[in-house]
Symmetry: D2
Subunit: 357 residues, 4 copies
């Protein structure tokens, strides 16, 4: 494994769900090792006090993130911080030759201006002018940006909803098989997407035994999805995206509705399209026609499972996509990017098998 | 209350969820009383053995359904039987002047031919030719068929998905505010919709911590929704309907997508449309713009809570509707029909308040 | 109903779970009416903004609790406040002839000294010396303190764990059928017991798909249970009480272990003991031997369902008791107390039927 | 790895939860490989049709179990069959030199007579007289029977409840630190313990939002626990064991109550006892005093997490133990046994890290 480029990883925001998953995955990784744990609120405390459920050798202390120290101890940094914080830390790490995978939204837009329009609240309190850095950052969807990720210094891992929504949709947009207008994404997520932060609406008593839409028209992930969809389709796309909160811990299902351009296409044809595009991508499974994905099937794995169905009466297409919102939708995708950046096969260190049930 | 028309109700299929809910509701009803419990599998057994969680005075025995006995003891019968059974029992009860509310799909289509096309499996084993009865049966959606229900002898209570989907959609179809083409219904239901029947996919171990689509393109409720939607719109409507199984006991959310004909209409305008149509219907609540319904808000109540949002970029409309699949989506709607048939206010005996959380 | 003593109820702490349940129950009550909504954090806001899921006629504003106003508008006050607050408000209300049902722990001990020992944290920040008031307050377990409650001015509604634990245990202690030593209570509660307060451990992502013990040895409810157990047994009792957090919204199950004094007693005998003691208490159901209570059976009802089993090998007794922690374990019990105070039958306004499933 | 004894494993009962978990674990195992899939009901069907969520290379067909074929293709067989079936198949495999790990209860008792008394129903339909085989079978609790398991030809993997209950209890019994009389085990399990079999009580609609005791006094695992507890204590032990059904998929918590013989022992002392006994056992974690195990902490891992607390008032001891009922409580323990039988370290191929949350 002489061609592995670096192997030491700092995880900043270690005790949130994104940080935790990243650490968990890397603890079983044969080449990449966590060498620095950073966190503001938890700085100075022993890991075992904070997370007794995930024992780490030698029980390290969480550090207040210090760019010099991070650069001393790590080749890569995974940033799992609230929006508006990564854009402050990342430049300092890049300057010190630490390559960065950012799990937040700070570098997901190629245009800083657009970020400011979408993340109004965060932008208000920031004097952010890193136009060039935004332009250079690579959108970390490995199945579509693999070569760019491999050489990137700054990777912006996609949101969980964009990941699940774009994977089944992009092949059809790219090949012009689907009408660009009238696309609808109805997405359903477990509550861990809200993060390890005490908020009333994510209490079990509130969220259990209930499903509800939220952020209807105008959820921030809409523009993120539209950005790559437009790039791949080659023309501006406006779509409907509606997320729903589902009473489960993990898992995200996107149901995508569109209309085929060619009324002769069948569900089998469309399945073949997906299979062809993803045949060399081990993290993507395409199901046979008539089998639909349950989020349980991908829990704790870095896999997306896709399926497609067609209403022959009117050439309407239904695309379905299930991911674990914290793995393929977040930390696993981050590790997949790290693998590519380190010159490793994309799934190194991550089992693609789920535990069922 | 001298004008109450009859008050004795037989519940056939008493130990399934539909029967149980009906009994539960009627146990607190001031005018309608359960006077006969029917069931095939549970015939001859004491109620308390079958359902110790719902004590009934004098602990009656469940009877094998006998039309003569039912007619002797009851003015109304609620049939909560598997599809294909009600159509065998109902004619015998009607002949004996028992008015029937059927919770199954047997009489939901005005055309027997269409029923046979949709319920192929059930139709195969039946020699059914009750064309006239199908024509006369009234679709039991009280907010849209109230006067017909009041005088009907045979009411076919709608399915849970059609109820939740049609309530927010019909006002827009009726007033021609929405394009008839391209309607999409993405629905999410709790697992009690599968009935009180042991099936592997509804085991907690299988269904919990997961969401999955099923019956994608071609679910039976599609045609049921299309039937009334077409009738109200005045022209044939073909829509996409995709149900999803959600890890919760009760509750059903329909998210309906369409396009407004008038690009000037706002979410406030659309909310006003819903409020105007349902202003005298106590079982329907319309939420202010920006507030979205959670199924928890309607649990155990006979209420539907509606909300609407508009994407001003492209006049796309999102309608949301939450019901308890076993109450407003089934047994409560049945009792609402019974109330109308008995000359009572529609909500008699049913609290519209939920217990939260 | 000329003998109803007052009918206007103030609910203080209206938007917490205890307040919400109380309001919900009273909204359907034929004699008691909510006439004042009090709350600190929510003062000045319209009810419909705070709790859109529970519409109240005329959409009142929540008031910052003012004793004079409360006394002007209400005959009774239900206090659903954090521990350490009710003891500040209650005396001012009593002075103004408002009779008080307190859902907190402030008046559950007859000895102020003991309260200070158990509620150390709350006691530190309070200069509390209401010894006499503590002595006069009545412990609001209606099945055991009914006559005292009826004439009380200050009722301290029991905790959810003590309610579920004491109901099956007291008959055996009272009649000397069980050894006082070695009693063990293993209790399991839904997460709504943690209140409508954002705390990390009660997030769905944390609490779902998990069960855990907490407060092992030394949970505050231990001493509350021991207080009444000792009073009824006529000698000091020290018992083990271990609560567990269960991944469900509502419901509380207590499994109580002890040893019978008479080795000849059977499960049938013990069931007879329970039935005899509670035969005139409509909120208590005793199950036949071999049938065990599920918390689902009491959800949303003010009922406790009890069962008992005996290991004939060694005369060990297992008592089981299920309640809804927010109804019979909190607000429903409070309304039951209000009913007694107002001279009404204990279950007035509350259905004892559960919705199943 | 020349000393690995055999590496080919047959899994019989492949599509049940025990079989599935075994296959899942072995798919990631570096030395042991699944080479035969057996099952009665699923015989002749492709794996991908049966379990699309767990892709297996080359998509094998499930076979009707044939001892000759099994012996041809496998060195070991894991039997995951209903009680009463393994005892018919195992002798035939042993005769053919296939070493057997049985996940059922058929060989858990050293006395066939006792098995017949406990498994009355299964015994009725069997002409079973394999007294000697029962005597020779080894109880597969690796932390207590490691050397015997390593050389055994027939290992009876323990039940999930006995595993969780015995692990914290045995050290205290062995060292005589705890009174043998009056032991109480209050256990809580997820519903996957009921197996992948459609039964009404395990439906999500029935089991969710509820906790209930079952098998109170006389559950079959009582005698299994008593067998090893008595052996280790050196005298007959009779204890109370009460299982409860918890609304979660996986996880099992045992709360064990006893009394210390030495009133001077503290929780710290007792923690030291556990730590000392299990210091070389990687699958056992002992928590510091005051930290209690949640089943979420062990989900999908072959770990048991233990904790202990003491009531100093009366020397009462509370032991807590969390396992994943399908891993350390079943299939993982089976693989741990296979590892020992093959001369491998006990945790080979199994990560001990959980994914959280």
């Amino acid at each position: 494994m002489s061609q592995v480029r670096g192997s030491r990883v700092a995880v900043i925001g270690a005790t949130g769900y994104g940080g935790l998953q990243t650490i968990r995955l890397l603890e079983d990784h044969p080449h990449l090792h966590v060498t620095y744990l950073g966190g503001e609120r938890s700085a100075g405390r022993r890991w075992s006090e904070l997370c007794p459920f995930l024992p780490i050798l030698d029980d390290p202390e969480v550090q207040s993130p210090d760019p010099d120290k991070i650069a001393e101890f790590a080749d890569y940094a995974v940033l799992s911080l609230p929006n508006g914080l990564a854009c402050q830390l990342a430049p300092q790490l890049l300057k010190r030759n630490v390559r960065v995978v950012d799990l937040s939204a700070d570098f997901r837009y190629r245009s800083l201006e657009q970020w400011k329009q979408v993340y109004v609240h965060e932008a208000q309190n920031l004097n952010r002018d890193d136009v060039q850095l935004c332009r250079e950052a690579v959108y970390g969807l490995p199945e579509w940006k693999g070569p760019e990720i491999a050489v990137a210094n700054l990777v912006a891992a996609p949101g969980c909803f964009p990941t699940a929504s774009l994977l089944p949709l992009l092949p059809f947009l790219k090949q012009g098989l689907i009408e660009n207008d009238g696309l609808i994404i109805d997405a359903k997520t477990g509550t861990s997407g809200g993060g390890r932060v005490a908020k009333e609406q994510f209490l079990l008593a509130e969220a259990s035994e209930s499903i509800m839409p939220y952020g209807v028209v105008g959820h921030r992930h809409t523009s993120e999805i539209e950005q790559l969809a437009s790039e791949v389709a080659g023309q501006p796309i406006e779509l409907q995206f509606t997320p729903h909160l589902v009473p489960m811990v993990r898992g995200l299902l996107a149901t995508v509705y569109g209309r085929l351009r060619d009324p002769g296409l069948t569900a089998e044809d469309c399945t073949t399209v997906l299979k062809a595009v993803y045949r060399h991508h081990p993290c993507i499974d395409v199901l046979p026609v008539g089998t639909y994905p349950a989020t349980k099937w991908v829990k704790y794995s870095n896999k997306a499972v896709l399926s497609v169905q067609v209403d022959n009466r009117n050439s309407r297409l239904v695309l379905m996509s299930a991911v674990d919102n914290l793995i393929k939708g977040q930390a696993g995708q981050g590790v997949q990017c790290l693998n590519l950046m380190a010159g490793l096969p994309p799934t190194t260190g991550m089992s693609l098998l789920t535990f069922y049930p």
